[in-house]
Subunit: 187 residues, 2 copies
Amino acid sequence: MDISDARNRIVATADELYNAKGIQSVGMDELRTAAGVSLKKLYQEFPSKKSIVMAVLERRHQSWAEGLDARVRRAPTPREQLLAIFDYLAEWFCQETFRGCGFINSFAELGAISPEVAEYARKHKESFQAYVASLAAGAGAPGYLAPQLAILAEGAQTTAAIAGSPNAATQARQAAEVLIDAALNTK
Amino acid sequence: MDISDARNRIVATADELYNAKGIQSVGMDELRTAAGVSLKKLYQEFPSKKSIVMAVLERRHQSWAEGLDARVRRAPTPREQLLAIFDYLAEWFCQETFRGCGFINSFAELGAISPEVAEYARKHKESFQAYVASLAAGAGAPGYLAPQLAILAEGAQTTAAIAGSPNAATQARQAAEVLIDAALNTK
DNA sequence: CGAAGAAGAGAACGGTCGTTCTCTTGTTGT
DNA sequence: ACAACAAGAGAACGACCGTTCTCTTCTTCG
């Protein structure tokens, strides 16, 4: 087994477990069992639980950014690229494992007591805002459009998570259409 | 001291502490000290920490619903009533103690392991959606407007919490204006 | 005044968690 | 074959948390 193989499995397993049950509810022993490694190996790869949490956040960020960008690139026009954000959300919400945005959740759980987690969540959302801004700029939209669409996307995530239904994605998409067209027409 | 006086102080103190540090990070002893009651009194008023959490959620729900409705009633027209939602958010975001929506936070922290908390968060958001729907109906808007505005409000809350700035309220308000006018014109 | 009960303070208990230690097993290099 | 090291399994440790128990103090009522 490769050295980073165990590492990857640990982080992937932690990601699943933390997403399903919350971070604080998952102990190192449960993670150890689920990942199929020894405690020794676990602490050989990571010095502490906190470092595992940060690795999970990095993994989530990469997975989100790559998945979103892949979905966006399938859209032919700049306008449809902006809307593709919400198609990506719709697909995500329909997955059985969806339990809300992992960054919002980890921020809610640990943001108040862990500055690193709070900071990482902030950076992640900042990068999403910047991504939306770049798409909006590509569509020739005024600067205020991107934050509006980002807020819609955030709201769709929490609404879908708490309501337990993916409806919010299509509702947000329709709202986004209105906002995009309004922004492009008054330009 | 009245019987319910201690109860109220316990719940109010728990609300503050849970909001500031998260629920799981605040132990019964810290709550006891901050509220200035004995452990005996604490367990005389509430059988368990879980019941305190539920009482805090009820308190948050009432406070939110009353504060929002009071703000909305100050608005003269149905259209401005819908926008008043976002003025209420703006005022909230500017408070020093703002750390995001308490229901989103408690759902993220405990929703996966406490069905009661998850259910209460769902009910709270449902009631907010119904409230927005009643305002939208008063403005003569089509049915799809209310969910759109509710999603904007949710997104503003998480965005403001994580970014640590109240900007999202005004951005969401401007988006709401566009959505409202579009919905009212195509009717 | 004295006995009885309420109430506060905090010790104690059982359980869990993050982390480390120990002991056993297996493997490798000569 | 044997010494030496790597690694797995899980016991152990210290800290903390929710909850209960005990002891002391204060009030109150006959």
